[in-house]
Symmetry: C2
C-alpha cells in the first residue's frame, strides 16, 4: 500500500498555492457563503493535507486529502469538458463502494451537475428506466457493472468505465483514470489562462469553481423504489446535504480520529450523506467493494475503524463471524430499517460496538431521526434496553420536530396546514409520520404528480405509520403497507405485482412482506391463475428473475383460488399478512 | 435544591400539548426552515423535558428543559407586551451569569427582538452610551448592577430588575419574575383565543411564535470596544448564530452528557454562542454569578462539569487552587485571547483538563478558528506541544477558510476582491486576517463608516496581524496594535488616550500593552504634561477611574518629555513597546 503513487490527476499542483476554496458569486453579501458540501473536502485538504482521506485496501489504493481534492477537481473539469455539458445536467454513477463513487459526490457537484447514483442491484430494465428518466448525459460505471449499461443510448451520452485502479497501472488502461487526466489538463489550462491574464492574482485550483449562488440548487438525484411501481427520483439540495452531513457528523460523534467503514452502499440515499459527514469531521473513509465479513473484521481489528452503518442482518453476520472479538476501540454503528434485537444488542455490546438506532428515508437525506439514550438505561436488563432502543426516536440536530398525524376520516377534510392534527402521544394512536424543513427533499424529479401526493400542505408525508409515546418519540408500527424491506432493499410490492400480472397465465397476484430470519422480510406472492391455465412456482420465479432485481423476486409463491377483497374491490393485504402471522410461517 | 418549585411562568402548560415548535411563515417552501437558534431549546424540551437545563447553585435554582422552554416563552410574551413593542426592537441585558441572561438569548429572539447584552464591567458613562446608541426599549437588569442604569431614560423605555430568585420567593418580590408572569398570562390569553376559534386546531405554546421568515434577520447586538474609541455594535443574525452554535457544539464535542460551566461572561459576544450550543447538544448549563475558584472546583469535582471557556489567567488561578485535583472525567476548556504556556498546559493535563486553543472576535460570533491537534503530538515534550498549540489554527466546521492578506503598499491599490493577495505560507510574512461567510457579522449597527472600514471587497477585515505556517494554520504575531487585552477584556488604547487627553494638565498621552503575569497585559501610559503643570500618577489614575472601566485604567504611568514620533507626526507605539521589552519590565 505504501508503494501506491497517485497519477497526475490526483496530485496537488506543483505551485506553492492550490487555492483550496470556492469562488464566491460576487453578488452575495459578505455574511453569506452558500452552504455546499463541497466545502468540507477543501477544508479537510487545508487542515490535514497529508492525512488518509480514502483507504481502499482490496486495491491497495490510498489517497491523502490533498490528493483527493486534486482528484475531485480533475473529475469536475473532466465532466465540464464532456459534450454539450451545462449546469444542472445529471451524471449517473453505477458502482459498488469505490473511491469513484465517493469522489462523484464532490466532482459532479463541483461541475455544477447533479449526482445520480444508481442501485447496482437493479436489473438492466430498471437501470435503463432510471437513465432515461434522469436524462443523464454522463455515466460513470464500474467495470464489474458495465453490463448494466444499455447498449442503446442517446448519442450525446458519455460513458466512462472505471477499473478501480486508482491510476496505479497508468492511465491508459483505465478509462476513468484517463478521464480524470483530461480534467487535470483542463484545469491546468484554465489556471494558465488566469495567470497569463492576472499574474499573481490569477485564480488557482478550486478557486476556478464558483459556489452555487443559490444554496437550494439541486445536487443529488437518488432513485427510490419506495412507494409505487416506478422508481422515483428524489432531488436534494446543496443546503440540505450540507446540513444533513453536519447533523450526521454530530449525532454519530464523528471526529478527526474517526475511521468510517463503508458497509452501507454509497449509492443508497447519497450514502446517507456520509461521503460528506466523514470528511466534514476530518475523518478517514475506509472503503471496500463488497460486504465481506472477513474484510470487515480485518478493518475493525487492524485498521482502527470507529464507525459504520449497517442493517441488523449485516450485524448478525458480523457478531457470528469466527474473527469476532472484543475491540479495544468503541465502534458506533448506525442501524436503520429495523431495530437490533436484545440478543443482537448484547452481542454487539460485548464486542464494544454501540448501535445507534436511527430512521429516515431517501426523501429526507437518509437518517434524520435517532433514538436518544438516557443514562439511566445502562442499569436496565438488555431485554428492556432493547425494547426502549427499538423506538425510532426524535429528530436530529438540524431536523425539525417529527410529527405523527391522524389519518383516516379526519384526513379527508384537510384543507390547510392547520388541519394536520397530531395523534395523541399515548403510544397507542397510529398515524402517519410527516416532516418538513431543511432535511426534506426538494421534489420528485420530473414527477409533479408524485410530488403533490407526498408534499401536501407544506409537509412531506412519509407514508410510514407510527405512534408517539408520552416522551414524544416516534415509534413505527407498520411500514407503509406496500413495502417489503429485504436485506435493506425497499421492494415495491406494487411493482412486483405489475410484473407478475404481465404473465399470460396470471389472473391477478398480490405480494406481501413475510418475516425472514436472514433478510428481515421477503415477498410472499399469492397468485390466482386464469381459468384452465397452469404454472408452477418455479416457472413464475424464472419469469420474475428476467424482469426484476434478484432481491425483489418473491421468496414464497402460493397459488390460491381468490384474494380477499374489500367491498370496493381492494385487495386486503392486511388479511393476507394476518394469515401468514397466524400460520407462524 | 430539590425543594425548588418553579413559578407558574416557568411551568409547562397543564394541557396535554405544549406545541414545542415554531410556526413556519406560510410562504416558505416545505424544504426550508429558517435557521434560528430558538429551535435548539424547543428540541431539547421535546427530547429531554425533565433533564436539568440550568443549574444555578448559588441561588438553589434548577430548571428542567420543559420548564425553561415555558420560562423563555413567558419572557417572549412579556417583551411583546411592553409599550409600543415592535419587531426588531432592542432589549438590553445588564447581568452577570444568571438564568436571566441565558433565557434572554431565547426570549428576546422569540419576541422578534434583538438581544443586546452589555458589559457589566463598563462604567455608567459607557453603559449610557450603549443604551442610547442601541436605542433599547427594554432593559433587563440584575439588581447588583442596577446602579449602572442611567436615571434619565427616554420615557418609552421599560426597565425590569431581577433579583435572581427564579421565583422561589414568589413573584411579587422580584420584578423580573412578575414580568415573566405577565408574559405567561399573555401567552395563555393568546392560546385561549386560538382554541376558542379553532378548537383542537388552535395553536398552543410555542406555535404562537412564528420563525423569522428571513433567517438573516438580526438577533443579537453585542458591543465591542475592540478597535476604536467608541464601542461599536456588532449585529449578528439568526442564521449565523445557528450555524456558529452547531460548530461550537461539534468542535468542542458537546454531547447530551455534557455539563457546561459558565465561567465566560454570557454577555461576551453572546456567550460565544454557548447559550445555544450547549442546548443544541442537549447538555446542561451550570451557571455561577462570579468567577469564584472555590465554586468552580466544587462544580468540577462534584457536579460532573465537562466543559468551560476561560482565558489563561482564569486557568492559572484554577490549577493553583488548594482544591485542585485530577478529575475522573475529561474536561475540555476552550482557551482564547492567548495560548496556554507549557507550564499551564502541563498543569491542566495533569488535572485531566484538555485545553482547546481557539480564536475569534465578536465580529465573527466568538471563536471560529481552532487549533486542530495531530495524534503524533502526544509523543512530543510538553514545551514542543505548547509551541504547536500556540498557533491559532484553522477555521471551524461551517467557517470558510481564514485568510491572511498582504498589507502595506500592496494594500493601497486594492480595487476588488481579486486584489486581496494572500501572504506566503512561510511562517514569516505578516499580514492581516480576513474572513467572510456565515460566521461574519451583518454590520456595525447604525455605523456605516465603521462597517465600510471593516467590510471591504466582500471580506471582513479583523485588524489582527498574523502569519500562515506552511501547514496553512494562522498564527497571530501582533495584536491589532491599539488593543490591550487585560484579563480577557479588550481595552482600546485610543479610548483611554482620549480620556487622558481630556485632563487639563495633559499635553498628550499614549498607552501601550505591557505584559502582565496575572492579567496577560495591562496598559502602560506615557504622558507629556503641559508646560508648567504638575500631576502625579495617582491623581491621573483617580481621574481615569471616574471615566472608564476599572480594568481599562493604566496599570503603569510614566511622565516623559516627549513621545517618539514618525516624520508625519504619528506616535511610534512600536518603539515604546520595544523599549518596555528591552527594559524587561
Amino acid at each position: 500500500m505504501n508503494q501506491f503513487k497517485p497519477p497526475l490527476s490526483s496530485q496537488p499542483p506543483s505551485q506553492d498555492r492550490f487555492g483550496l476554496r470556492l469562488s464566491v458569486p460576487p453578488s452575495l453579501p459578505h455574511y453569506i457563503s452558500p452552504l455546499s458540501p463541497i466545502a468540507f473536502l477543501l477544508r479537510a485538504a487545508l487542515i490535514f493535507p497529508n492525512k488518509a482521506a480514502i483507504i481502499h485496501p482490496e486495491k491497495g489504493i490510498r489517497f491523502t486529502y490533498v490528493e483527493w481534492a486534486a482528484r475531485c477537481l480533475s473529475l469536475a473539469f473532466a465532466i465540464k469538458n464532456t459534450a454539450n455539458w451545462k449546469k444542472g445536467d445529471r451524471v449517473a454513477i453505477i458502482a459498488p463502494n469505490t473511491p469513484m463513487i465517493l469522489e462523484s459526490y464532490y466532482g459532479i457537484l463541483a461541475a455544477g451537475g447533479i449526482a445520480t447514483p444508481l442501485n447496482i442491484r437493479n436489473n438492466e430494465r430498471e437501470i435503463a428506466y432510471v437513465l432515461d428518466h434522469s436524462g443523464a448525459s454522463v455515466i460513470l460505471v464500474d467495470e464489474e457493472f458495465a453490463h448494466l449499461v444499455p447498449e442503446q443510448l442517446p448519442s450525446n451520452v458519455t460513458v466512462i468505465i472505471s477499473k478501480d485502479t486508482g491510476g496505479k497501472d497508468g492511465i491508459d488502461s483505465d478509462q476513468y483514470e484517463s478521464f480524470l487526466h483530461t480534467g487535470r489538463q483542463e484545469w491546468e489550462k484554465a489556471e494558465k489562462q488566469e495567470i497569463d491574464r492576472w499574474g499573481k492574482k490569477g485564480k488557482r485550483g478550486w478557486e476556478l469553481i464558483e459556489a452555487p449562488k443559490d444554496e437550494n440548487t439541486p445536487c443529488c438525484l437518488c432513485y427510490t423504489s419506495g412507494t409505487t411501481g416506478r422508481p422515483k427520483g428524489v432531488l436534494t439540495s446543496h443546503r440540505g446535504s450540507y446540513l444533513a452531513a453536519c447533523a450526521n457528523a454530530f449525532e454519530f460523534q464523528l471526529t478527526s480520529d474517526s475511521v468510517y467503514l463503508w458497509v452501507l452502499p454509497a449509492f443508497h440515499a447519497a450514502g446517507w450523506t456520509f461521503p460528506w459527514a466523514v470528511t466534514a469531521a476530518l475523518g478517514t473513509h475506509y472503503i471496500i467493494r463488497k460486504v465481506d465479513n472477513d474484510l470487515i473484521w480485518n478493518a475493525l481489528r487492524d485498521h482502527g475503524v470507529t464507525h459504520y452503518c449497517a442493517a441488523p442482518t449485516v450485524n448478525i453476520g458480523l457478531v457470528n463471524h469466527p474473527k469476532a472479538q472484543r475491540l479495544p476501540q468503541t465502534v458506533r454503528v448506525a442501524v436503520a430499517a429495523s431495530a437490533p434485537t436484545a440478543e443482537l444488542l448484547q452481542s454487539l455490546e460485548n464486542l464494544n460496538v454501540i448501535p445507534v438506532h436511527c430512521y429516515g428515508q431517501t426523501e429526507n437525506y437518509g437518517p434524520f431521526v435517532k433514538r436518544y439514550m438516557e443514562p439511566s438505561w445502562s442499569k436496565l436488563a438488555v431485554q428492556d434496553r432493547a425494547q426502549l432502543i427499538a423506538r425510532q426516536g426524535h429528530g436530529f440536530l438540524v431536523s425539525d420536530e417529527v410529527r405523527v398525524i391522524k389519518t383516516g376520516k379526519e384526513n379527508d377534510s384537510i384543507k390547510d396546514e392547520r388541519d394536520l392534527i397530531d395523534v395523541e402521544a399515548d403510544g397507542q394512536e397510529v398515524g402517519e409520520i410527516i416532516m418538513r424543513g431543511n432535511l426534506a427533499m426538494l421534489e420528485y424529479y420530473n414527477d409533479k404528480v408524485a410530488t403533490e401526493k407526498t408534499v401536501k400542505h407544506g409537509w412531506l408525508h412519509t407514508g410510514d405509520l407510527a405512534v408517539r409515546h408520552p416522551g414524544g418519540e416516534v415509534h413505527i408500527r407498520d411500514r407503509q403497507k406496500d413495502i417489503i424491506i429485504s436485506g435493506g432493499e425497499n421492494i415495491s410490492s406494487l411493482a412486483v405485482e405489475d410484473e407478475i400480472a404481465s404473465h399470460e397465465a396470471v389472473l391477478e397476484g398480490c405480494v406481501v412482506a413475510r418475516p425472514h430470519e436472514k433478510w428481515g422480510e421477503v415477498g410472499h406472492a399469492f397468485i390466482v391463475l386464469k381459468q384452465g391455465r397452469k404454472l408452477t412456482a418455479e416457472e413464475l420465479r424464472q419469469y420474475c428473475r428476467s424482469r426484476m432485481s434478484k432481491f425483489a423476486v418473491p421468496g414464497y409463491i402460493d397459488f390460491v383460488d381468490a384474494l380477499p377483497k374489500t367491498s370496493t374491490g381492494k385487495v386486503q393485504k392486511n388479511v393476507l399478512r394476518e394469515n401468514l402471522r397466524q400460520a407462524k410461517l
